[in-house]
Symmetry: C2
Subunit: 334 residues, 2 copies
């Protein structure tokens, strides 16, 4: 099918190309009468502007990019729903890119998005990201960036997170109150700022209550985590209370307990960061620190659109904290 061009529209309407172009972009320089005529014929003939040509002129893609580490994670899928709600209200489309926790891929996607296909960025970094030049590059190019959940402490940009220190603190405290004598903290990556904060709250609570604990370094690789956790739970000196600092470690821990036929909560109490809807349907129902994932997505997106609307090249350097909730279920029952 041959594409209808602006030139053809102009010829048929006996107008100049620039008048047709202005009418199609709703310019105040064109009369309402002319706009109506042009749009009617454009609709009739199925005229569609070429996005690349039109973006080249306006440098506005009306699209925001979201870079996240993974999608099989209830936090990110709910946060995206919140991001999309705000984008829709602003007439924007949302592109989603996955980094799969891989630094090279994250940096490659970021380089791609420097080139004008998105007006702004929402991002949650992968667990191996220590170099942040690829994120700073957005600011240098005048593309505003908002980080959410997995933020980088050093970067000067707006960040939307939960109360990570406090969540770690109250998780340890809850396990201690339920009678645990030996705690363990499952860490996804020491590079992640959320991990450092959650761990630091956890450690402070354990120390203040003279409770022993150990930090277990897990990995993004599930098979490796199954090995690490099976070993931990088979040792003579195993913990009686575990805090999984991210959802996927909590799920793997449950799997390992089922395989080893370890009784939760009588032999081991478990609490996990998780936004998973079916936590109450697990065997046994899982005690969670539940992040308001949708709300975090919404707030991050709203902050980005404030910057875009005001033609800010940067967003303010600020932390917005949305508190998480401790939801007590059977997996930590005394």
């Amino acid at each position: 099918m041959s594409k209808i061009t602006i030139k053809e529209l102009a010829e048929r309407l006996n107008l100049s190309i620039s008048t047709v172009s202005r009418a199609l972009s709703d310019s105040y320089e064109t009369s309402e009468e002319t706009k109506k005529r042009v749009k009617a014929l454009a609709d009739e003939l199925g005229y569609r502007p070429d996005v690349y040509a039109s973006n080249l002129r306006s440098k506005k893609s009306r699209t925001i990019g979201v870079i996240i580490p993974e999608i099989t994670n209830s936090f990110f899928s709910l946060a995206i729903n919140g991001i999309e709600e705000v984008a829709r209200q602003n007439g924007y489309h949302v592109l989603i890119y996955l980094s799969h926790e891989d630094y090279e891929q994250e940096a490659s996607v970021a380089r791609l998005l420097l080139d004008g296909r998105v007006d702004g960025i929402l991002m949650s970094v992968g667990c191996a990201t220590t170099n942040t030049a690829h994120i700073e590059a957005f600011n240098k190019r005048g593309i505003p960036v908002v980080l959410f959940d997995r933020i980088c402490d050093g970067l000067n940009t707006l960040k939307v997170i939960t109360d990570d220190y406090n969540s770690g603190y109250k998780s340890a405290l809850h396990l201690i109150e339920q009678g645990c004598k030996k705690l363990a903290y499952l860490s996804l990556s020491k590079h992640l700022s959320i991990d450092q904060r959650r761990k630091s709250g956890f450690v402070d609570a354990a120390n203040q209550h003279n409770t022993t604990f150990e930090i277990i370094c897990c990995s993004p690789d599930e098979d490796e985590n199954i090995r690490i956790l099976s070993e931990l739970l088979s040792s003579n000196n195993k913990p009686d209370g575990i805090f999984a600092s991210v959802e996927k470690l909590g799920i793997t821990l449950y799997q390992v307990c089922h395989e080893l036929n370890m009784q939760i909560p009588s032999q081991l109490k478990i609490i996990s960061f998780s936004s998973i809807k079916i936590a109450p349907l697990l065997q046994p129902p899982l005690t969670t620190i539940t992040q308001p994932a949708f709300e975090i997505g919404r707030k991050a997106s709203a902050a980005l659109f404030r910057a875009l609307k005001n033609n800010f090249l940067f967003v303010e350097n600020e932390e917005i904290i949305v508190p998480s909730e401790l939801v007590v279920r059977k997996s930590t029952k005394a």
Copy 2:
């Protein structure tokens, strides 16, 4: 930061703009020696091509678009991982768009993608989609489309699905073999081809075994489904075996059973289409029809790249069927 242009590169190298442009795009018309000089300076000065200008020339975005109804669904999140693996191998980026089961939004995203920002489309339609003009438009514009899972029967394009009829058939048969006397089939939408096929297999198995059944029409709205299922399970004539034809209905059914304190499997046996990893960790472990979601994504993506590599404007009209597996767990125990 001011952007380095091709013009500046050309001036510094004392070459014509077109020579620099050809060197950067690796043209066979340029000597290796010149290419090396140009690329070295481009790297040194941090030159980046403008994606819109460069796409306008080549009409190749090296990007594929994926349109799916929802993301909080283990099938789609796993299928996307399969799609991305193949895209990565082909040096392509993947854009993900969500329709949220809303026809207007699906059609609006499709219109957006007609304009050249993607080279090909992978799509799973929303449950309200009956008009397919927005999908046929891709073919008219020479953008190849592959449908996966939620396909439209009438469209002439490549489709990757599971053995839906057979899966419905063996689900009903399994419930009958486990002793169920009165079955129910939970349907998400009578418009969906996968629903029609799964239902038709289910109905045939029930009829062949003289087992009574009813079809329960659910909705994309969760609260509405909680109401429908609570009513179903509170009736005097309630079923003793239910097949949930999509994952989210199976999960809602579990929630309702927990709320009503209904015992699974003694009072009610449940089987659900689901790719959810934690099916074995549910209370009780859930019997599933498990689609090879990653494989379906991989196969759909591979078919699209065959078309793109061969400069096909259309993909062949064909159905690729990847069988699902019945995984028996405690929720259907006799």
